[in-house]
């Protein structure tokens, strides 16, 4: 990260001075070091942004650096960002703005309450307004605003995943206003469009059905929850999405609003109310299922004789303080042996997908030695587990790629918790 290169030198290959040939090393010179200006305008600019004020309070203790997941695979950490700000970096225009995954591990340890969870989205909002936005993110935002999902898939195909379902599923997209269900299930982009997500979605349907849950989906009417768009600084788009989705929630009365994506959970629970004025009874599916644990246990009669480990999603764990629900489910899996990874619960290591990281692999690769998901999968492999359980739809694909990167194919399988639960319920 040091910008001072001691060995910067110049050498003219062909040069004659006063009739003397001093080509090559005879004229080699080191480049002089410029006076370092402590140009703190970058810091001043950032701390003036509403939401980013706390950046000013860093006192360089470096506790965050040890907690930062990006630091494990590169040189980052909020302390270093602060220091760069003090010596002339304008974060708004710098790639460094985009390396943060908003995993909030630094916020957990920061004695001065420097809140990168708030600073980064605020700074990115400023960057987006100024046009300083990575191409990858630009494309993703384009897709969201055009199609309502970041993949750029057709909105009309959002319920296509339901085709294999034998029995009908209540798709509220075409329903009249006021059609009510017990559970309104917000399926989410990855469950709807991604192949591995589809597997989990179908498992979820089966589990709902076997529990006798009256549920409905929003089908083609549903749009992405917007949390990642908020975190990359597109607050306008986030507002539109929140209003759109919340209008649907309003339209179809329900007891529970169940989501499978912790990012959706986070957005609907904490950020939609500020925009729509409505509070929804939103639960993550692990919470919903663990509240019906007795019924679920009765159904799970098939044994799953494997060693499993579990990856806490940042947006369920650190952001929303839910560590127990997924563990209750895992501990109920008949035959499974649960091994925790060294970095778990509050200290869980980020998969790299949060805060827009899902769409920043290209940029992040310039500053890191490996993907965060690779680092995480290596840890999972070291526990001796055969299955890495997840409960965030981003993670199945990220970790499956990482399994290949660490040559652990055949040794480690990545599964959504709901897939395992479903596997333990015999057909009936």
């Amino acid at each position: 990260m040091s910008e001072h290169k001691y060995q910067d030198s110049v050498q003219l290959e062909q040069v004659i001075v006063d009739g003397m040939d001093i080509s090559g090393h005879w004229n080699k010179m080191f480049v002089p070091r410029a006076l370092t200006q402590f140009d703190i305008s970058g810091l001043e600019q950032l701390r003036d942004i509403p939401g980013a004020e706390s950046i000013n309070n860093c006192y360089q203790c470096a506790k965050c650096v040890g907690s930062c997941p990006v630091e494990y695979v590169g040189s980052y950490g909020p302390r270093k960002i602060y220091r760069k700000l003090q010596i002339g970096t304008n974060l708004i225009e710098d790639d460094y703005l985009w390396l943060c995954t908003t995993c909030k591990n630094c916020v957990r340890v920061c004695p001065k309450e420097v809140n990168m969870g708030e600073i980064i989205p605020a700074a990115r909002e400023k960057a987006v307004l100024g046009g300083f936005i990575p191409d990858e993110i630009q494309e993703m935002l384009q897709s969201v605003s055009e199609y309502g999902n970041p993949m750029g898939e057709s909105a009309r195909k959002r319920a296509k995943w339901t085709k294999p379902i034998k029995d009908s599923i209540k798709n509220l997209a075409k329903a009249e206003e006021g059609e009510s269900v017990d559970v309104l299930w917000f399926v989410g982009d990855f469950y709807a469009y991604h192949g591995r997500g589809n597997d989990a979605a179908l498992a979820m349907v089966n589990v709902f059905n076997r529990l006798g849950v009256d549920f409905g989906i929003l089908g083609e009417a549903e749009k992405t929850d917007g949390d990642s768009q908020r975190l990359v600084g597109e607050s306008g788009l986030f507002e539109d999405l929140a209003n759109h989705n919340d209008a649907l929630f309003e339209k179809f009365p329900h007891k529970d609003l169940v989501v499978n994506d912790p990012h959706a959970y986070n957005a609907i629970k904490k950020f939609y109310p500020g925009i729509t004025g409505n509070t929804r009874n939103v639960t993550h599916y692990t919470q919903f299922l663990s509240s019906r644990l007795d019924e679920l246990k009765a159904l799970m009669t098939k044994s799953f004789d494997k060693k499993v480990t579990f990856h806490d999603p940042c947006y369920l764990g650190r952001h929303n303080d839910e560590y127990n629900a997924p563990r209750e489910l895992i501990n109920s899996i008949p035959g499974a042996t649960f091994i925790e990874m060294p970095r778990h619960k509050e200290q869980s290591y980020c998969c790299g997908g949060g805060g827009g990281g899902m769409w920043l692999d290209g940029l992040v690769a310039n500053y890191t030695s490996e993907r965060l998901s690779t680092n995480r999968v290596r840890e999972a492999v070291e526990t001796g587990a055969e299955v890495l359980l997840v409960c965030c739809p981003y993670e199945v694909s990220r970790f499956e790629d990482a399994v290949k990167a660490v040559n652990a194919e055949g040794k480690l399988e990545v599964m959504d918790i709901v897939e395992v639960i479903n596997a333990c319920i015999p057909e009936g």
Binding site: L12, V17, M20, N27, K28, M29
Partner: protein, 395 residues
């Protein structure tokens, strides 16, 4: 300016530095005389007449005016022969006695600072041998090189505090049949020049009021064992060594400051040997360019063979990179000699210096072309084989 007035109650004119002894430094001379009393060594006394000067932590130091045993530096003759000849010329002008020995060895500082391949007794013995030779010759050593000056002081520390080392050195000296001698003071030529400055100024023949000089003090002069270094409250408010600055000042030149005054010239010993691009870059960009940019001087004064050579010769290659170079460099002694009318080529031998010095000489009121013609003419007898070299009669 009303504002300024009202803030002057904390300005420089309100500050008066009072020199105090450093809590950690001791007057080594007591230890030296004590060892002499115990018969361990012979102290070469500073001969009279001498001048007493103040050093960094307030102790007075005796600088002899004559009777110098000319302790050469390794590079002086090859690189800047005008440096020692200017010293001798000045001595002769004032009818001061000196001795130019033929049997001095290197001081070993090259070895110490560049490679550390030698050992402590060998280095200490070489120091003592040179001093012993001075004693036998009946003169007091004047050290020409900043590094010798610094390293001898470090050697003195070791000799004073390690009886085992003294024993080892004594064994060697006994084999050589020379006394174990050590001078009362380690004296650098710039210090001699410093105490001679008023006498020299009285006899100056040039008007130097339009000459601006910058000064580079040798690190090994003022940073190694700083308690022996001259400090004078009249210069830099007592915060930096006045050597070179004071002589330039009393000769009527303007001394300009610059922001890298304390920095090394770039020589660095190891660097000049194996990383010359470092020396060259440092000298050209960190010293010369800074001086040119900030003070635009006519001349750079320095006091040591290594510094002078590095600062002078490094400017050539820097021209290839369009650096702001072209600053003549000479020693304080050469400048003083010129001021007193010494011949720029026959005595000060400026033709050995790398940077074009003719504009400087012209500005100092010396007809450089005429001087060069005189020099060429004096070379006639050497070309024709009548003579091997120029003598004092020629100058």
């Amino acid at each position: 300016m009303e504002e300024k007035k009202s803030a002057s109650f904390i300005g420089l004119d309100q500050r008066k530095f009072t020199r105090k002894p450093n809590k950690k430094s001791v007057d080594y001379r007591h230890e030296l005389f004590e060892l002499e009393e115990q018969g361990e060594l012979e102290v070469i006394r500073v001969p009279e007449p001498y001048v007493e000067v103040t050093t960094k932590f307030g102790r007075t130091k005796k600088i002899p005016l004559q009777g110098g045993w000319h302790h050469k530096s390794c590079g002086q003759c090859g690189h800047i022969p005008g440096y020692p000849t200017s010293i001798f010329w000045l001595h002769r002008q004032f009818n001061l006695d000196y001795f130019d020995p033929k049997d001095q060895t290197s001081c070993t500082a090259w070895n110490y600072y560049a490679s550390s391949a030698s050992n402590v007794p060998a280095q200490a013995a070489i120091a003592v041998r040179n001093f012993a030779q001075a004693k036998v010759d009946g003169y007091f050593p004047y050290i020409h090189c900043g590094t010798s000056y610094g390293h001898y002081k470090e050697t003195r520390e070791q000799l004073l505090h390690y009886p085992e080392l003294r024993k080892q050195v004594r064994t060697i000296m006994d084999k050589l049949g020379l006394p174990f001698a050590f001078p009362e003071e380690i004296v650098h030529y710039s210090e001699w020049l410093h105490v001679m400055r008023h006498k020299i100024a009285e006899r100056k023949v040039l008007d130097l009021s339009n000459i601006t000089v910058t000064v580079h003090p040798a690190c090994h002069y003022h940073k190694l064992v700083p308690e022996d270094v001259i400090y004078d409250d009249d210069y830099f408010n007592g915060q930096r060594t006045p050597v070179m600055t004071a002589i330039a000042d009393v000769l009527g030149a303007n001394v300009a400051d610059y922001s890298t005054w304390h920095d090394c010239c770039g020589f660095g010993f190891r660097h000049i040997l194996v990383s010359r691009e470092f020396s060259r870059s440092f000298a050209a960009t960190r010293k010369i360019e800074r001086m040119k940019d900030e003070a635009n001087p006519d001349l750079l004064l320095t006091q040591d063979t290594g510094c002078l050579t590095t600062l002078d010769k490094s400017q050539f290659a820097a021209k290839a990179h369009k650096c702001n170079v072209g600053l003549p460099v000479m020693s304080d002694v050469q400048f003083a000699a010129l001021a007193m009318g010494a011949h720029p080529y026959k005595v000060c031998q400026l033709h050995w210096h790398g940077v074009d010095h003719k504009p400087l000489l012209e500005k100092m009121g010396i007809d450089a072309d005429k001087a060069w013609a005189e020099f060429e003419e004096s070379l006639g007898p050497i070309k024709s084989g009548q003579k091997q070299f120029l003598t004092w009669e020629d100058v």
